[in-house]
Assembly symmetry: C2
Homo-oligomer: 772 residues x 2
């Protein structure tokens, strides 16, 4: 298995390290002269991370551009956006009230930072491009409007008038526009493009609701029925429309139909028909339309993204290319390639780089053409895990002891399948003990036993496995386990120390202890293979779900700001249970309503935290009758718009995304590039058999460890360096998206990197297309 060829390669790798050191030295010396490499590295890096900024290629602009992309500046920017958004906590109506001059000063500082960032951006890209981008115009308008609002508000405050900080609604738009929140902007664009289609279905749906309401008015309005509160039932058309709209959200089912149903069961048929048509059929049609349109536009966006990426790689190639032989195709030499890769990803291991080069330079010619070069961005996005097979440190320190028979028996025991099963059983027993009453001293003390058992497990594994491999970056469950167990140990010790010293138990620490105890149980899931696949899929689509999280936060923030202005202090929550106002939430209008009776007083818009929690509740079930009571019927419009925006549009897009991601997981296997990379790894015979690693190193090192154990005990036969493609992880959301539409992407796009027009004017624009 282990041929001389791979020996050569290992030797080659060592030479490479030396070569690289010299290369780096030269690079440092010639950095000011050879701006070219910097430029090419920026193009490659932009292609890798799908950045789409058309910067000037003058040395100064390039330096500014590098600074612009520096992570410190980005983190600072996000920090100030967070500060700006969290100002809502301190402004009226506040969670922690601060004088308004403090919040306004902080906001001014934030605005200043955003302005500086914008100026920096303006210096990086050509003047005309800057003014053509609607994003920049949007930022400038928001900044100006915020300033104007602050001045007006300050003046009104000084004159002791009532002022509204209406520009707060615009803040989340900064999150969308100031940051390089590409995913977020793309999601917004997709929604905007899908809106016309959704709108027509919505009109038809509203027509259906209006028709049913008219029929309900005619059938039920004259019968003198009353609701449970004694109010006339179904007598006002607008009330009926609203009630039936809420019925679609299932919030007032079956309450809304009970009076009619009590009168005669025939009316139940009316409501069942309504629910069938509007809740089930129309909501499915909404999902179908949203899904179809979102997918269509997203696919188009991803197509343009891929095209832009290839243009950038072609530009990088143009910078690096050299003519190897007269009249021949331009190529990039291995030296230049190495230098660029080193600049793009300084932390890449030499072995890994060598591997990538061998994939590009398939025929071992020492130089690669354009087509092979263009692959680089995708290659860098494939996560390759370098596994260094090292002997256990105890083996090096004290081989006689570590190799002794009892020690080896221990190793074999820990690596046995039964070890996993025993610990799964322990976890189950632990779960039962957690469920029992912890006041019982026997149960309380058993916790120490379990903690000891878990610690023992970790120590045993550390004894058997090489610690650096055990705590490698991809061993999610090992990290999870260790952190949970160690924190639980610390928290339990602190808790019992406090208890024994003063007899006082901190509720917070106890809560943490409980949460940690329960979290420990999650590990059982990892032992069952079927569960692991589902969970891995969920983890994989995790980053994309975060994008939807941002989207939701933007929409929630806007609705929270508007809601606070409309409804603040209309409904009050009293901590003091003896206060008589508690029974009607401090608002006499709510006396006797279901809202007050069900004790919903804390569901209010009195500060930004309450507002967010209330908006989540509204997303789940749109129950808002209380707010219509305390203000005006028209307040319901606010809740209906919220429902349309969040439930019909965003939640459906979320569902569509999860569906699509799962279908991709079910259908697609590997990209061509990954296949060729894997083939290369296999060829190099540095690879470990796929099935061995699939189950232990990457996904779950500690569950099926006997395989690894075997390969370790046969350490002499295994090379000291192994590669493994973390084939199903995506470094970026873009990579997942590209994968989702890979099958549908136009293959001729690949040929298009030679398109002279696109190459000529360097027009790798942000993806845009007409909505026609």
């Amino acid at each position: 298995l282990y041929t001389s060829k791979s020996h050569d390669i290992v030797k080659n790798l060592r030479c490479q390290i030396f070569f690289d050191l010299i290369n780096n030295f030269i690079l440092q010396l010639t950095a000011c002269v050879f701006q070219d490499f910097d430029l090419a590295a920026i193009y490659v890096s932009d292609a890798q991370y799908n950045r789409n900024i058309y910067f000037d290629t003058s040395p100064q602009a390039v330096r500014l551009y590098l600074l612009y992309n520096h992570w410190v500046l980005k983190v600072l920017l996000y920090f100030f956006i967070l500060v700006d958004l969290s100002l809502a906590l301190f402004e009226e109506p506040a969670v922690v009230p601060l004088p308004s001059w403090v919040t306004m000063l902080v906001e001014l500082l934030c605005l200043l930072v955003f302005t500086l960032r914008l100026i920096h951006y303006a210096k990086v890209i050509p003047r005309d491009k800057f003014w053509k981008d609607p994003k920049n115009i949007c930022i400038i308008v928001i900044l100006l409007l915020t300033l104007v609002d602050m001045i007006i508000y300050g003046a009104l405050k000084a004159a002791n008038c009532y002022g509204v900080r209406w520009s707060r609604v615009l803040r989340p738009l900064l999150l969308v526009n100031v940051t390089e929140g590409r995913q977020l902007r793309r999601a917004f664009r997709s929604i905007r493009n899908a809106l016309p289609q959704i709108f027509y279905v919505f009109l038809l749906f509203m027509f259906s609701v209006l028709m049913f309401s008219l029929m309900a008015l005619k059938l039920l309005g004259k019968r003198g029925l009353t609701t449970i509160e004694g109010a006339p039932y179904f007598t006002s058309y607008l009330e009926i429309v609203f009630d039936l709209y809420v019925l679609v959200t299932t919030a007032n089912s079956p309450d809304v139909m009970m009076p009619a149903y009590n009168a005669s069961f025939v009316f139940a048929i009316f409501f069942i028909l309504y629910i069938l048509i509007n809740t089930y059929i129309f909501m499915s049609v909404f999902l179908a339309v949203v899904y179809n349109n979102y997918k269509k536009y997203l696919k188009e966006e991803v197509r343009q993204l891929v095209r832009a990426k290839r243009h950038k790689m072609v530009r990088a190639f143009a910078v690096l290319q050299e003519q190897k032989e007269e009249g021949g195709e331009p190529v990039v030499s291995q030296a230049s390639w190495n230098q660029v890769v080193h600049l793009v990803q300084p932390d890449i291991s030499n072995a890994h780089r060598e591997l990538l080069w061998s994939v590009c330079d398939d025929k071992n010619q020492g130089a690669i053409g354009k087509v092979a070069f263009v692959q680089l961005a995708d290659l860098l996005n494939i996560e390759v895990i370098t596994i260094k097979s090292r002997p256990h440190p105890l083996n090096s320190l004290c081989p006689a002891f570590y190799q002794s028979a009892p020690s080896r028996l221990l190793c074999r025991m820990v690596q046995h399948r039964a070890f996993v099963i025993v610990y799964d059983l322990i976890i189950l027993v632990n779960a039962v003990f957690i469920g029992l009453d912890e006041e019982n001293p026997m149960i309380a003390n058993s916790e120490w036993v379990f903690l000891a058992l878990y610690m023992l497990e970790i120590l045993l594994k550390l004894y058997v496995f090489e610690p650096r491999a055990f705590f490698s970056r991809h061993s999610f469950w090992n990290w999870f386990d260790t952190i949970i167990v160690v924190s639980a140990l610390v928290a339990t010790i602190v808790n019992s120390a406090m208890k024994s010293s003063g007899g006082y138990t901190s509720r917070q620490i106890l809560d943490i202890v409980f949460i940690l105890r329960v979290l420990r149980l999650i590990r059982v899931v990892d032992s069952i293979k079927r569960f692991r696949t589902i969970i891995n899929t969920l983890i994989r689509i995790g980053p994309a779900i975060l994008t939807f999280g941002q989207l939701i936060i933007v929409v929630y923030y806007i609705f929270a700001m508007v809601g606070m202005e409309l409804f603040k202090n209309k409904v009050k929550f009293y901590e003091d249970t003896s206060d008589p106002a508690k029974a009607y939430c401090g608002n006499p209008l709510l006396k006797g309503t279901a809202f007050a009776q069900l004790n919903y007083c804390k569901n209010n818009f009195n500060n930004v935290v309450s507002s967010f929690i209330l908006l989540v509740e509204l997303t789940v079930v749109n129950q808002c009758s209380g707010f219509a009571t305390v203000t005006h019927m028209s307040a319901r419009i606010f809740f209906v718009i919220f429902h349309i925006m969040v439930v019909i549009v965003i939640i459906n897009i979320f569902v569509a995304f999860v569906l699509e991601a799962f279908f991709v997981e079910y259908s697609v296997d590997k990209s061509d590039l990954q296949t060729s990379l894997e083939k290369k790894i296999e060829e190099l015979e540095l690879a470990v058999a796929q099935e061995k690693l699939e189950d232990n190193l990457v996904n779950a090192m500690e569950t099926i460890d006997n395989d690894l154990g075997t390969s370790q005990s046969a350490a002499a036969n295994v090379p000291s360096l192994m590669f493994k493609i973390a084939s199903k992880r995506y470094r970026t959301v873009d990579a997942l998206l590209q994968r989702m539409f890979e099958a549908d992407l136009d293959p001729e796009d690949f040929a298009e990197h030679d398109d002279p027009e696109a190459q000529g004017n360097g027009n790798f624009a942000n993806p845009t297309f007409s909505s026609a």
Copy 2:
């Protein structure tokens, strides 16, 4: 445009009619001799309607088989199934109580009918096939079990003991098995095959619920919180699990979190996390898994269906084939083909048959080979509308008047776009008037004006358009309009007659009048093209939705039977409002519960109608605390199982089906066969320009009628016969399904009709495949 070729064809058609008459005569004479044609016709008919019964080919069996497929027997069977199912209305707990000997006699009659049907079936197919089909075994077992149950119940009744008619649960299974409910059985098979995958996701989901419950118990159980009813909050583990499970259905949101949220807003985060993971992510994953699996298995089923269809056509070909020339390929002559088509579809017009032949016999050879013959089943499934362009009867009766200038002006006015707009406006004004109070005499009288206007519209259209074309089979909106307006007129006259004669107004008639008035408004939708496309899609997937309706009824029936045994008379509804028991639904256990307070007493299992309505409510929102109170905590299991079966499995399959159908509508255009048929129609120059007909004759004759008017006034240039493919309508659900998976179907299946093995043993089985 009108060439001599089509003249020839028209002449040909006339000859054909004569030829057919003679042919039919000969056929009648030789029917007993030439069983072949009967047999071939049965094969073709089976292929067309996807019937999969392997009947004996002996003349007697064929005759029995024809009888078996006779529509009268099928209608009778459905009638007896309906009777059997609706027995639940008369049995304890009954809507209309009947003595148990009556219902049992009726049930015995039904069982007898089913047994006879089964015996009939056994005579049709070979003995060994009969016993191999699980469907037949299932029917026999159900029949026997029902008999046993009836005997036991009768004996218990005679001894005055308490008996349970448990076999009632089995009744809906007869609907699945006795009838040729292929779609239904297929849906059940798909669900059964998808269950393992769903099960694993469900286990993971339950694990998540259990973990969250444990955490909730530890965090909230010891805080001494109370619910709104004063009960301890989150102290029992099983209670928490159930409450959190119900939270997934959003039924008790936000009630279940309010006590914790009132204690501290930090706990809201716990619930938000729970809802995010379990309600949003897991429910989406369920949809994804159900969708993916259902689609996968359905595709496999449809593939086998197509294969079986082709086998049957090959068998029919084998019966009809003749050797035209020595050593040549066997062919089917036009005469045999005509005879078979005539037997399969006696109502087919000669022109239509001629058209189909010309599609098959593309090269005009007078005979067709196997490949062309196999198309016949699909060709017969394409709905071709024969349009006979006739002059208006008034034009024939009194041409001078009909062709006069005022008459022609009137025609032009009615055909003008403005006419449609004016009537749309009238409908809108009508909608406003309906919304107003009808006690007002002005409003009441306006109804007569509107009725007159609508009648005028219909009469004008009848004056302008040929009545038979106006009331053609595909003019849905014309029929709709006329029926609604005429019934409204009749009902209004009856109503006012009753009012003026005795001053008495029947509530029922008034209700009908109101419903008809509101339904009239629906017509507006048809004027807007965007709406029309959405509605047409919905109408197209209508038959498939009915299949799901059957599925739901089967599941509801089973749950209703079980529910009635478990919960009958536990909750009572009192019509009499003065009864003190009404406040707690006649069950002291419900005193002070939310169930009684919200007046849900009529939501009970006291008869089959109430049970069905309650099950619909449970499908929408799983609110069942009342029933757990009146019986036992374990009653909740019933509701959880119902939720899993109906909401997680069936509703998700329904959503998946709607999504898939919409995607097909968005992406697929026409099948190859339809294209070739259309090409042929165009070639024959009998076709009218597609775009003219698309909008008026088929979809909406009355909205854009001026086009038709033009073609009518130029009647001399138009042939007297036109064809039009109703391209997007599906005669059968199978056709829609085949269309859905057309793109994915293995094209090599088409070649497989020569497969000797399958052809040899005639094994076109009901689609089955291993669930591996």
